[in-house]
Symmetry: C2
Subunit: 412 residues, 2 copies
């Protein structure tokens, strides 16, 4: 039994996580939120109070924190008495926060792979470069660390585990498909931090096929998918975190990630990328100023959290597993459909933030009640998916299945 | 009779001007070249020596100069004893250099309208904002100042004057058409300083039609033109310097400027412009760094002078005048065709720099021999075009005409 939660980060995802923690504070206990800019945390708490999200009277405090500073994170953990840290800050802070959790014996979660700001797309499997090097330390200190517990990675890993446990025992392929069929009404915007968004696509596209890492370029391989609710959508093979753990856990299956992109996004990306404007390496202007192009691009683009009020339409994200069960061909697509406007009405954020920010709260609830408090480091497909998906069914991200028997909700 | 020339600037156009001055140093006398970075001037002089461009033995010296500093420019004029200044530096320095010429009684030329770095596209007529305010001072001090004596503005103004003098006495329209049908082989590049290039297109498109200034957006009005040598080409109505003087001198004619753009250029421009990356106004990154987006875009794009070795194809730039002569409908297109590879072989620059850099040398020769040493400020259409076009026929930019009698070279 663990109680009291520290949320690190104050962007769109953190806002969702904050609301969802508040809605379940009877189980989670005291709530704290910390980021470099305390004012952003104050705003989030203000929004939680406006929507009366706290289920029971309780603590929700804002803190200023440099999450790159392990000692500062450990101090805050001691000072607040939290036993669970949900890290939804920048992926540059994962290792410093995890280190603080190891020092203090606190449960840790994040939603994206650790990144070094100066490097794009390291060698696969990505988790092997930073996270898994701390696995033994977690086991030794009995620290629960759940990696990549957003929607994708996260819920889609649980979908894969469920599909293989119950529907396709011998998987030959695992395809994650992520379609955002929403419309934010801007000429161009990314749906989350532009710096992180573009960094996903400027490197090599790694997939696991025929038992080995394969490399492609972004937008090299596209495919039309016919999906529930959102219909026929074109998606492109993309490098993504969950490929790197699923390929390690299911090495006999091909593992690929597909993300939907419209022609307009691809065109803007291609122009910026070909001109060198998505580079993480500084260039010098004629006046001698050193500028990282990607950071300027981030500065001129809309703040993704500003999109929420006008965002309409739905997302469909799921896991398609094909293979055999008892010698027979089998295929199952397990998925969720989220609505941007519903997310805004409930927690003041758009659907992309919603799908990423709710799952770590479900995981925190499972750590709080002991179900997932496993005392070591895990990727999501290494945990029992059913209690997790059951909570998500209840708190806003219901699971559906499509197979030979049609489409239907899944409960356990 | 004036002698000894100071070239200000050390870009691609300055390189052409330097070679052409050298090829005519028997008339022009001592040559000097100055820019902020003396090393660039040294390189240009080295290139002049490599190609043995100096017609007769003579002086060619490099200098370091901050051309925004009028006193420094005046000092250099005194020190070198020049009587003619060819300003082919950034358009931000026009007024400080002109002021130094006024102080020292030196003839002045430039190739583009003066610009304030912090302002895009001021009110029409553009020359009225800075240049023409110094017209009286030039007349009082008997200083010859020839404005906009590149190709466009410059030669095209002379074409307009010639067309109206000799072929279309009552002009109803003057259309300048600028087509670059060359290929530089890069994914994207501007043909001259990206900062100046993009600044031309981010503001209002001013044209003079039906006796008044009309406003349009860039790429709003496009038209296919069937031109000599380069064939059918799409060009778009664009704001450009010469519209502002020709409209003042020929207020009864519609005056428009058309520049050729491929779909690829338009797409890249549209993406950069819509995202705010062509702005001259600083933005602040999340890290607190103030950056002028346009200056970063300049830094990531190819240096236009690097394009020359691979540039192939031709340019066609000319003036189409329609109207009446002795009561009869009349129409004439006066134009030049330049070849990128020929330009590179002769002076080490591509064709766009060549067409801009040669005309001020022809004008310098006419100031040197007294023909154009008018002792006041003039736009090019206010001067006798024939001696000017005759020199250009001889030094690399021959004039052609297309009218009811067909296409043919023009000599006088």
């Amino acid at each position: 039994m663990k109680r009291n939660v520290l949320i690190i980060g104050a962007g769109g995802v953190a806002q969702v996580t904050a609301h969802k923690c508040a809605q379940n504070n009877d189980l989670l206990g005291d709530l704290h939120i910390a980021s470099r800019t305390k004012a952003k945390c104050d705003q989030i708490i203000e929004s939680v109070r406006e929507k009366a999200s706290l289920k029971v009277d309780g603590v929700f405090k804002a803190h200023s924190l440099d999450a790159m500073d392990t000692a500062a994170v450990a101090d805050l953990i001691h000072q607040t008495g939290v036993q669970i840290v949900i890290n939804v800050g920048s992926p540059f802070v994962n290792m410093t926060v995890l280190e603080a959790c190891l020092e203090t014996g606190t449960a840790y979660m994040d939603t994206a792979i650790h990144e070094d700001p100066a490097k794009i797309c390291e060698t696969p499997p990505w988790y092997g470069n930073y996270e898994w090097k701390r696995r033994e330390a977690c086991a030794e200190k009995k620290v629960t660390a759940i990696l990549g517990i957003g929607f994708d990675p996260g819920v889609v890993n649980a979908y894969a585990k469920l599909a293989i446990d119950d529907y396709v025992n011998e998987p030959s392929s695992i395809d994650i498909v992520d379609i955002n069929a929403g419309d934010h009404g801007r000429w161009f915007s990314t749906n989350f931090d532009p710096e992180i968004n573009f960094r996903e696509f400027t490197g090599t596209v790694y997939s696991w096929q025929q038992g080995a890492w394969q490399t492609n370029k972004m937008f090299e391989i596209g495919k039309e998918w016919d999906l529930p609710v959102v219909g026929t959508q074109k998606a492109y093979m993309t490098g993504h975190d969950e490929v790197h753990s699923l390929a390690t856990n299911y090495p006999n299956a091909d593992v690929r990630f597909w993300m939907g992109f419209g022609d307009h996004y691809i065109n803007v990306f291609t122009v910026l990328n070909n001109l060198g404007l998505l580079s993480e390496q500084p260039v010098k202007t004629a006046e001698g100023l050193e500028v990282v192009p990607l950071k300027l691009v981030k500065a001129v683009l809309p703040d993704p959290s500003s999109l929420a009020p006008d965002y309409v339409g739905k997302t469909c994200i799921g896991t398609l597993v094909k293979g055999k069960t008892e010698g027979q061909d089998a295929e199952v697509f397990i998925y969720n459909v989220a609505d941007h406007k519903d997310a805004y009405n409930e927690v003041g954020s758009q659907g992309i933030s919603y799908t990423a920010g709710v799952p770590p709260v479900a995981a925190a609830m499972l750590i709080a009640d002991g179900t997932w408090d496993v005392g070591t480091m895990k990727n999501v497909e290494e945990l029992d998916p059913k209690p997790f998906l059951n909570i998500l069914n209840r708190i806003g991200l219901p699971t559906f299945i499509k197979d030979a028997n049609g489409e239907r909700p899944l409960t356990f």
